[in-house]
Amino acid sequence: MKLYDGRETAAGSDAPGEASEPDRHRVGIAEYAVSTTGATLTTSGLGSCVGVALYDERAGVAGLVHVMLPSATGPGEEPAKFADTGTMLLVDELERAGASRRRLVAKMAGGSDMLDFSTGASIGDRNVQQVRRTLADCDVPIVGEDVGGEYGRSLRLDGDTGTLVIRRANRVETTL
């Protein structure tokens, strides 16, 4: 769990009179992060993986999780690796950081069909469907999404505004 609340990075980072850059934190695959300070959370190289962003405007709390597979098949797995447990975990952690579940809104991106050699529904599609189901179970509305297609995505979540910027390899950007 990574919680960015401004306490961890204070030591020695800014000399007096120097402009302070906004905090920026990278979320790896099967990881999540929560910000209460307006920090920017980023994750990159989503293929069939899905990035789920949650935001409570009034509490100023935002979070991002990068899930890889729809659901766990055995015990002892990292919860943030899966669409069901990862999304649920992020909802819980945002509440723990001061957000209210009834004010939370969700945005998601990823779940591409690229390079899926399997037959039947692609992993990307199954990831997206599982995130939808879990958010519905938590009564968290999805207010924006950029999913599917045949291309990768990188995400940048502004913890201050809840704005999610999606960038593709061809540098096309979408803002949710």
Partner: protein, 399 residues
């Protein structure tokens, strides 16, 4: 010597936890936020241990390890970015001597954090020698180690990324062969003889050599095989080992024993140079024509077949592959869906990497295979190491 795949997984997780502890120390001491990108254990030719370092200028802090884990460890810092770490550590700019002692002390504390978890797990102590400061270009940071009959070594590698400053820090631990043998001595149904893994690596090296010769033959661009590496890591770490650079190349699924996926990736400059050599029209960076894409697809097919047919010959198994699919996207995003498909059935993955390099255009071609873990183990258990050089595949069969 045998390695147990589950134990390799355990030690990779210990190394990952150790890298996270080292990262926390780094942040506490310097105020620089950092995260662990990737942790893996690789079997690699001794002189290529540090080959995952880019060709930049690095400073490093070396240690000797003794006790429950004996060997050598190196913390490598990108030289340019290390100045920001030293400034954070010392509260301002520092002269050369202060910077060296500052980095040595930082390395000392990070290394203590790294090995604590190993000592706890092994129920014994691990001591590290005082730090030695070194400066070098890229992989020259590592000496090849003591001469040994064994030309390959296990190395644990963790990559750390400092978010705002974009400083790369890497931790390498090279256990002595005896120490590694002791760590992995448990035999189980999942054990693989190290000599077979080493033979598989040599086979990959042969495959890369053949592929490089084929690229040279077909495109006229002088290409050399550089490195062959067999790595083992948690499945979610596999895409993290790739960057967000845009690549052009081909992807296939191969079926048989083992099954899996294989990617041939050219960076955009490499793709343009090779495609232009094959198709007589100019290509701008990132703006290849359909003909150029077709050329990349064909050369990807030749490289893929060289590897897959080579494995099939040596393993004496039938291994087929799908026609190549042209890919053009971020490296990490291309790898993600392939390993997600494997991740439905396995928690750790073997990754077979080889790299080709052309001096003329200073670009690289990467070949990356992601075999099914259980099937690779099964195939290796039956591998006759004396056949490891019988990888010949004929490029003319594809044109």
């Amino acid at each position: 010597m045998y390695v147990d795949a589950r134990l390799l997984g355990t030690f990779t997780e210990l190394a990952h936890d150790g890298a996270e502890a080292a990262t926390r120390s780094l942040t506490q001491l310097t105020g620089v936020e950092a995260s662990v990108d990737v942790t893996k254990v690789s079997l690699v030719e001794r002189d290529a241990v540090g080959s995952s370092l880019e060709r930049g200028s690095f400073v490093g802090v070396q240690f000797g390890l003794e006790g429950g884990l004996s060997g050598r460890a190196v913390l490598a810092f990108e030289r340019e970015g290390s100045e920001a770490l030293v400034a954070g550590l010392l509260g301002g700019a520092a002269d050369e001597s202060m910077a060296q002692s500052g980095l040595s002390e930082l390395g000392n504390i990070m290394m203590s954090g790294f090995i604590d978890g190993w000592a706890d797990y092994l129920g014994t102590s691990i001591a590290h020698s005082p730090p030695t400061y070194v400066e070098a270009q890229g992989s020259d940071l590592f000496d090849a180690g003591p001469a040994s009959a064994d030309d390959q070594a296990f190395v644990f590698h963790s990559g750390l990324q400092c978010a705002a400053q974009e400083v790369t820090v890497a931790i390498y631990v090279l256990p002595d062969a005896d120490s590694m043998a002791e760590l992995l001595s448990t035999r189980s149904a999942e054990s693989i003889a190290v000599e077979k893994l080493a033979a598989f690596n040599r086979m990959t090296r042969e495959g890369a050599q053949t592929a490089a010769e084929n690229v040279t033959l077909l495109s006229g661009v002088e290409t050399e095989a550089e490195v062959a590496r067999l790595s083992f890591m948690p499945i979610e770490n596999v895409p993290e080992a790739f960057d967000d650079t845009t690549y052009i190349g081909t992807a296939v699924e191969f079926t048989g024993t083992p099954s899996g996926f294989l990617l041939v990736l050219f960076d955009e400059r490499a793709a343009a140079a090779v495609a232009e050599a094959l198709v007589p029209t100019a290509a701008g960076e990132g703006s290849l024509t359909a003909d150029h894409n077709g050329a990349i697809e064909e050369i990807g097919n030749v490289i893929t077949s060289g590897f897959v047919d080579g494995w099939a010959n040596v393993l004496q198994r039938s291994v087929d592959h799908t026609p190549p699919r042209l890919v053009h996207d971020m490296g990490r995003a291309l790898v993600d869906p392939l390993v997600a498909q494997l991740g439905q059935h396995q928690r750790h993955a073997f990754v077979v990497d080889s790299r080709m390099h052309t001096a003329e255009f200073a670009f690289e071609i990467g070949v990356h295979a992601f075999p099914d873990e259980r099937e690779l183990r099964a195939a290796l258990s039956e591998l006759d190491v004396d056949r490891a050089d019988q990888t010949e595949a004929d490029p003319t069969a594809f044109f």
